[in-house]
Amino acid sequence: MTVGSQVKTCYATLKSIEAGLDLLQASTTEQGLKTTIDETSRLIKIARQDIHQQIIHIDKQEPQYKS
């Protein structure tokens, strides 16, 4: 597995975490948990966008491995 595809796997996991948090957010009625999820999912979102930039960068550097 190239580094590029490893980073892409990680990006996919981040997306799945974000969706999982959204699911939990929708199913819980507890106010404390709701605000914590809000904060956490903001963090995850920033991280995901950052990693996305990195993926674009990697793809540009090694176009022969682009998938």
Binding site: V3, Q6, V7, T9, C10, T13, L14, S16, I17, G20, L21, L23, L24, S27, T28, T29, E30, G32, L33, T36, I37, E39, T40, L43, I44, I46, A47, D50, I51, Q53, Q54, H57
Partner: protein, 285 residues
């Protein structure tokens, strides 16, 4: 009227009367009754028993006597709820046996407790050394309640400075194959959700003996057919695990790369994930 019929009729009526009197007098445990309540309870039972087996006694006398005893007990109970003084008189006061780690010998003597009795009561409370006890009080019911010294108390999350996630009571939403609507509403869920959840786990409602929802909205099921394996609710554990995995991956990338810019980026996001895990961990455990 033959005597045996008279006895049957008396029994049935007195059982009903006694049942309602005791019910109205309150639902206290036998051990929690004060002296007066105990006496009136015994007397009510005695009157009922006496008049049941003796068909020659006037039945109205039985009802009258029971009514008087009931009214007396009832009034005293209501009065003692209102006034502290009457309560002290009927229920008795509690007596301090150990204060600031020192045994109050006077109070022991007053209540008729010997050293052995005191030690036995302390041992009942898992205290084998008097020096471990800060405060001990004998309740009017004859029970000894013990406050151990600070260092001997069981450790709590507060002592460890851990903030636990708030926890709500679970709701039982399925019992004996029937959906219970009221607990379901208490958990702010609806039958449609429950049906979808059952479909996800591939079971029919008739097969469910017991279903409970925890505060995170996860459903636990116990089936009549114990051969069918039901997955334990693992949604939140899975989420936490994938967050941890992602964090570890990013850390690995940061170590593997030689490019300082990329290293910085992975490191930054690794820290974000770490923070996210730290925040969510108490809720997802």
């Amino acid at each position: 009227m033959p005597e045996w019929i008279s006895i049957i009729i008396r029994s049935v009526i007195l059982i009903t009367v006694l049942f309602f009197f005791v019910k109205w007098l309150g639902a206290k445990q036998l051990s929690q009754l004060n002296i007066f309540e105990t006496i009136s309870g015994i007397v009510l039972g005695g009157i009922a028993a006496f008049h049941t087996v003796d068909p020659y006694n006037s039945f109205y006398y039985a009802l009258l006597a029971m009514f008087v005893w009931f009214i007396a007990a009832f009034t005293i109970e209501k009065l003692s709820l209102k006034s502290k003084r009457i309560r002290d008189f009927t229920d008795g006061k509690s007596t301090v046996f150990i204060q600031n780690g020192k045994v109050m010998e006077e109070n022991l003597k007053k209540e008729g407790y010997s050293t052995d009795d005191l030690l036995e009561k302390l041992r009942n409370n898992d205290q084998f050394l008097v020096s471990d006890v800060e405060f001990a009080v004998l309740e009017p019911t004859g029970e000894l309640n013990v406050l151990p010294k600070r260092e001997n108390r069981p450790i709590t999350l507060k002592d460890l400075n851990i903030t636990p996630a708030p926890d709500k009571e679970p709701q039982t939403v399925i019992a004996d194959g029937n959906i219970l609507l009221e607990p379901l509403a208490n958990a702010s869920l609806n039958p449609t959700w429950l049906e979808a959840e059952l479909e996800k786990q591939n079971v029919t409602i008739d097969n469910v003996f017991l279903g409970q929802v925890d505060h995170q909205g996860q459903l636990f099921l116990d089936l009549y057919d114990d051969h069918i394996a039901v997955p334990e609710p693992a949604q939140s554990a899975l989420l936490l695990a994938s967050m941890k995995k992602c964090q570890a991956d990013l850390e690995l990338f940061a170590l593997a790369t030689d490019n300082p810019q990329a290293k910085e980026l992975y490191d930054r996001n690794q820290k974000r994930l770490q923070e996210a895990v730290r925040r969510m961990e108490p809720y997802l455990k």
